[in-house]
């Protein structure tokens, strides 16, 4: 069947012609999870003038639709990756979306998690109804913008396009952080903005160097030409600058001074999205660059060093944290250091371990920030909270156990994967990283269970009334994510195998090039 159809004109096609029509349609529809939230974000304000209810419903509906489209694409097209040329302009000139299992997984995670932590859902929205009515549409628009940009980060196959989505995500997150209008949140936003914007400047310099060296910013084409043009210090310098730029959102060590301030001042659900989702997508971008473009071992080492420093400083700082959000923020820095260490391991093992630890942290830290919605005070105030909210406290213990890596939970298998990978790497730096992980784990267990024990202490008289249990919606979400964790822990063997297939696909550079350029295409000036 030939494919001369309007849809071809709309989105452009760059697929094998023996695919049948529905597959092509679903493949092209992968653009929609980026486009629709963007569109909805701009429609939000006018729509709110017409009907407030409709505006409230718009965001969740769009996200659910996006999730459905991505799932559909995944199930229909099958395990092989596919690429979509936007606007029908073929790859080196036009912008492509590249959808392999990793990209689809994270795109799906963006939709689902933004939906779960939607600012307007559950009791949290009703708290301050009058002030909320003004802000709700703006805040929802920003959340949609964040979802759109984050999906784009997962799917895009063009470096400059990725940069734009990254900036879009940054702007949306600035807005979301100070959405509740408190002065301290605004100061934190400003500080965050300066760091982030200067990081973007450095990333832009890195992109300029890349373009100067190779003459292209398409990732597939960069992968083709990188072995000749990007060896040596110039290529590494470009990577270092890009690492600093994207590392801001990925909470890598020296670039993350904003993290504790922002998470301590932002609404808990925004923190959940930033710590859970956005950081993972930034890491994803770095990993794509590492796999496709910068294959030098030095580049991995750079990531490893930053990861080790992140793990150590994050966990040690969390040990001293006095309030729950900042404890989670520092712990999240440590966990992202672990993600960086995992991804710096060579080959499929590294990608497998990195993806696993990223997903693990995505599930756990988002849920914990959800619980922090009502537990945002100092740690002392949490004394006896288990009396009022036994389920939330139980979930906290479950998540803490998995974070520490207690067998047979998922966290243990992930730490084992990382450990085996580092030992097989065997260089002194790898062993140092292993030691750092072990040390940090001991510290992590101590501070997490200090909190857990506090939750189960008998409550102090006047505090019991002050501390409200977490909202039903947040507890429900935590339940759902906890159930995910338990299911994965039980079905650990198939889950690891599925991730291994995903990791092999992600690590296959030739597959990426072949998918974006279906027929061998010689690059010419």
């Amino acid at each position: 069947m030939t494919l001369e159809l309007p849809v071809d004109l709309l989105f452009g096609l760059n697929l094998d012609l023996n695919l049948d029509l529905t597959k092509v349609m679903t493949a092209n529809a992968i653009v929609l999870p980026v486009v629709l939230p963007l569109l909805a974000a701009f429609l939000m304000q006018p729509l709110a003038q017409v009907s407030r209810t409709l505006a409230r419903l718009l965001g969740p509906l769009v996200l659910a639709l996006g999730a459905w489209i991505i799932l559909n694409a995944w199930l229909d097209v099958g395990p092989a990756p596919f690429s979509v040329a936007i606007g029908g302009f073929a790859a080196p000139l036009g912008i492509v979306f590249y959808a392999d299992q990793l990209a689809l997984l994270f795109a799906l995670a963006v939709q689902v998690f933004t939906l779960l932590f939607w600012p307007g859902l559950g009791a949290a929205a009703k708290a301050d109804a009058a002030a909320d009515r003004q802000r709700a549409p703006r805040r929802d628009a920003l959340a949609l913008l964040l979802a759109s940009a984050a999906t784009g980060l997962a799917l895009s196959g063009d470096l400059f396009n990725i940069f734009i989505f990254y900036e879009l995500a940054a702007v949306a997150s600035f807005g979301l952080v100070c959405a509740d209008g408190s002065g301290r949140a605004r100061i934190a936003t400003l500080r965050y903005l300066f760091v982030s914007a200067f990081g973007s400047v450095l990333a832009l310099v890195g992109i300029a160097i890349l373009y100067l060296q190779t003459g292209t910013l398409n990732l597939a084409q960069l992968a083709q030409v990188a072995p000749e043009t990007l060896q040596g210090p110039i290529g590494l310098a470009a990577f270092a600058l890009l690492l600093i730029g994207f590392g801001v959102k990925a909470e890598l060590f020296p670039l993350n001074a904003w993290v504790p301030e922002v998470y301590a001042t932002a609404p808990a659900r925004v923190s959940a999205l930033l710590a859970g989702l956005v950081s993972k997508l930034a890491i994803l971008v770095i990993v794509r660059l590492l796999i496709l473009v910068f294959q030098q071992p030095e580049a991995s080492q750079l990531l490893l060093v930053l990861g080790v420093l992140g793990v150590l400083t994050g966990e040690f700082s969390a040990w001293r944290a006095q309030d729950f959000p900042r404890l989670l923020a520092f712990s999240s820095i440590g966990q992202l250091g672990l993600v960086a260490i995992a991804f710096s391991i060579d080959g499929t093992t590294g990608i497998l371990a990195g993806t696993a630890v990223a997903l693990h942290h995505l599930i756990i830290k988002s849920a914990l920030f959800g619980l922090a919605n009502r537990w945002s005070g100092g740690l002392d105030a949490l004394t006896g909270a288990a009396k009022g909210a036994p389920r939330a406290a139980g979930l906290f213990v479950l998540f803490a156990l998995s974070l520490v890596g207690v067998p047979p939970l998922w966290g243990f298998w992930i730490k084992l994967l990382i450990m085996v990978g580092l030992v097989q790497g065997g260089s002194p730096l790898d062993l140092l990283a292993l030691g750092a992980i072990l040390l940090a784990t001991a510290v992590e267990a101590h501070y997490l269970f200090r909190v857990a024990l506090r939750l189960y202490q008998p409550p102090v008289q006047d505090q019991a009334s002050r501390l409200a249990p977490p909202a039903r919606w947040d507890t429900g979400v935590a339940y759902l994510l906890g159930a995910c964790l338990v299911v994965i822990s039980v079905a650990i063997t198939p889950a690891t195998e599925a991730l291994r297939v995903l990791a092999q696909q992600t690590g296959d550079v030739l597959l990426y090039i072949d998918t974006v350029f279906p027929q061998p295409l010689a690059y010419k000036e």
Partner: protein, 676 residues
């Protein structure tokens, strides 16, 4: 093959190796079972499920029963009858363990195999596993019985969750069974962590000071577990596999430096759990503050998991002979002597710390640390009698400590305090508990005719015959401390003046008394006839490749000096008999008087006058030895905490810079400088 309960019972009885006299009892059991098996319901359902159960691998059956116990406690733990159910289930686990028969047969591997990320986990039971599993399930059994009745009622009334307690105990038991059956490094670590966290749960149940102690325990335990994981990583990096076979080969091929590193990592990990110096500070408070019955279980077996690790790795895989070749540079010591001296110091320091305690629970818990030293010392001597003594002491000490803690918690149950300065004279009110404590302290101090004597004697003897007189002296000094402190224990609780508020105290309830008395009988029997326990130990030695102890029913035979407890106890009893004859036969001019029918310094006494003080026991001795060690290890602990604090302060400072861009710029400059 026709299976019926009758044949199962036959197998079980055959597995027990009972003397002939029990045939009559077995006959009664068989007949009553025959009535059941003839009923219609049995032939319909019971037969099938029994056949399924019999068809399983015995180790699988054991694991399944243990997991079932955990599940049932999770579901039904809230019920009042859960305690009785738990006792029955632990009994069934014990029966399942006996039916594995791995002690005298070949090792049995479980059929459960899990493969994750190219790594496979599996379990197998051999004589060593059997030995430790037997102690574990036995401890769980008596603990559950002790907790089943009056104790649990009181526990509930205090607002505690019975389910949490039952689950914690079942989880401890299950984890321990997985640990002792581990057949590769991964399953070992899995079991290790499971037991560590289950113990944490048991300690933290009641909150208050227990929770503080549990947190301290956690800091130590998780650090130890991470050391262990580091050691496992080291082995994996050399052998490329987690299988024990590959591990042994890897260790054989290691250089001395690597073995030293391994010894520090693994040994450190195990030492934390065993409470060896200088990692012993967590144990006493954590065990003593656990809820009473839980404390019994923890004291009897939990600390021994460290010893299990040492036996498997350091004794079994590295081997004592390899340890002897590892010299410490610039000294005359080998690593074996180093470990032996650590063990000796672990005997002395905690024992004399126990002497200072004013709380009966703490006193016993501090002793538990010291007794671990004897076990390790025996194993480090490495000859037939010494290692047998070390292993036997695990069993003997488990029953002793369980009985002692049960007696103390029975007193707490009745009087509400374990403070040695608030008790006294209870022998008239709780005579049976007194008897249990008496048996226990004789055994703990290592005096005949109780079980503790046999194992301690074996350790002493091997220290002398193998030419380690200084270590022998150290061990004896430790025993001296034990004798002094257990005297303080029994005196301050049961002897002396009965306090006014304890006039109405009754004997411990029957549900607590039965396991206590049972254990006391066992303590005496294991001292009187150490043969059966020695036969288990001999099998373990054979399994580990150690020289096997020449045992007989009454003890050991050896040209350099054997031991026959049957004779010894016989003579002792004859001596007592003669004494009694002399005392009662020739007049017996004694008269029972009331405790207050007395006077001192010309004054008649009344009940509210304290004429007998027990505060600050051994003040002179403490004055003499106190300055030598007091606070040295606490200082170490505190300085470690302060270091951690300082490092954390520095790390946090990095996140509190005035200008976050500064760090970014610095990072950019550093990276570019590194690149070019």
């Amino acid at each position: 093959m026709a299976t019926s309960p009758t044949t199962v019972v036959d197998q079980l009885l055959a597995g027990l190796h009972l003397p002939d006299g029990f045939d009559a009892v077995a006959g009664v059991i068989r007949e009553s079972l025959a009535h059941v098996t003839n009923s219609a319901i049995w032939t319909r359902y019971g037969q099938q499920s029994l056949e399924w159960l019999i068809g399983m691998n015995p180790v699988d059956r054991l694991f399944m029963l243990s997991a079932l116990t955990l599940l049932l406690m999770l579901l039904l733990g809230r019920l009042r009858s859960a305690g009785v159910l738990a006792v029955l289930l632990y009994g069934a686990q014990f029966a399942a363990l006996l039916s594995t028969d791995t002690l005298f047969g070949a090792p049995v591997a479980a059929e459960v195999r899990i493969t994750v990320a190219d790594q496979s986990l599996h379990w197998s039971y051999d004589a060593l596993s059997w030995f430790f599993a037997m102690i574990t399930i036995g401890a769980a059994f008596v603990t559950a019985w002790y907790a089943a009745g009056s104790w649990m009622r009181r526990y509930r009334e205090a607002g505690q969750s019975a389910r949490a307690f039952h689950v914690a105990l079942a989880l401890n038991c299950f984890g321990m069974l997985l640990l002792v059956g581990s057949a590769d490094l991964l399953s070992l670590f899995l079991g290790w962590e499971l037991v560590s966290w289950a113990s944490f749960l048991l300690m933290a149940l009641v909150g208050g000071p227990g929770a503080q102690a549990a947190l301290k325990y956690l800091a130590y335990a998780i650090s130890g577990a991470m050391l262990l994981l580091g050691g496992i990583a080291l082995i994996y990096s050399i052998g490329g596999s987690f299988e024990y076979g590959a591990v042994v080969a890897a260790i054989r091929g290691m250089t001395d430096v690597q073995v030293w590193t391994l010894l520090l990592l693994l040994g450190g990990g195990f030492a934390v759990k065993l409470g060896l110096l200088p990692f012993h500070l967590w144990q006493a408070a954590a065990y003593a503050e656990a809820p009473g019955a839980g404390s019994v279980f923890l004291g009897a077996i939990s600390a021994r998991m460290g010893l299990f690790g040492i036996i498997v790795f350091i004794v079994g895989m590295i081997g004592v002979s390899r340890l002897m070749t590892l010299e410490i540079p610039y000294t005359f010591m080998s690593s074996r002597e180093l470990i032996a001296w650590i063990a000796a110091l672990t005997i002395i320091v905690p024992t004399y710390t126990a002497l200072q305690q004013h709380d009966a629970r703490y006193l016993l818990a501090w002793h538990g640390i010291g007794q671990g030293g004897y076990m390790l010392l025996g194993l480090m001597v490495g000859d037939a009698v010494g290692s047998a003594g070390g292993l036997l002491h695990c069993f003997n000490y488990a029953i002793t400590q369980a009985a002692l803690l049960m007696a103390v918690f029975a007193v707490v149950h009745r009087t509400g305090t374990a403070d040695l300065n608030q008790l006294g004279g209870l022998v008239t009110r709780m005579p049976l508990t007194f008897l249990v404590l008496l048996f226990g302290i004789i055994s703990l101090a290592g005096l005949p005719p109780m079980a503790g004597f046999v194992s301690k004697w074996m350790v002493y003897r091997s220290l002398i015959t193998e030419g380690m007189p200084l270590l022998f002296v150290a061990a004896v000094v430790g025993t001296l401390g034990t004798i002094l402190s257990v005297y303080k224990l029994i005196h301050n609780i049961f002897l002396g003046q009965l306090r006014v508020e304890h006039q109405g105290v009754a004997e411990a309830p029957l549900s607590m008394l039965i396991p206590m008395l049972g254990l006391s009988a066992l303590i005496f029997l294991a001292g009187f006839i150490p043969g059966p326990a020695l036969s288990w130990v001999a099998q373990v030695q054979g399994q580990l490749g150690l020289p096997v102890v020449p045992w007989v029913l009454g003890g050991i035979v050896d040209p350099r000096g054997g031991l026959d407890m049957i004779w010894l106890v016989g003579i002792l009893m004859a001596g007592f008999g003669v004494g009694a004859l002399v005392f009662y036969g020739f007049g017996g001019r004694s008269r029972r008087v009331h405790q207050l029918d007395n006077y001192a310094g010309g004054h008649f006494l009344t009940a509210d006058v304290h004429y007998q003080y027990s505060d600050n026991f051994y003040a002179g001795l403490m004055h003499l030895i106190g300055p030598w060690y007091r606070g040295a290890f606490r200082w170490l602990e505190r300085s470690l905490a302060a270091t951690l604090d300082l490092v954390s302060f520095g790390a946090e400072g990095l996140y509190r810079v005035a200008q976050p861009t500064l760090l970014m710029l610095a990072a950019a400059v550093a990276m570019l400088a590194w690149v070019f």
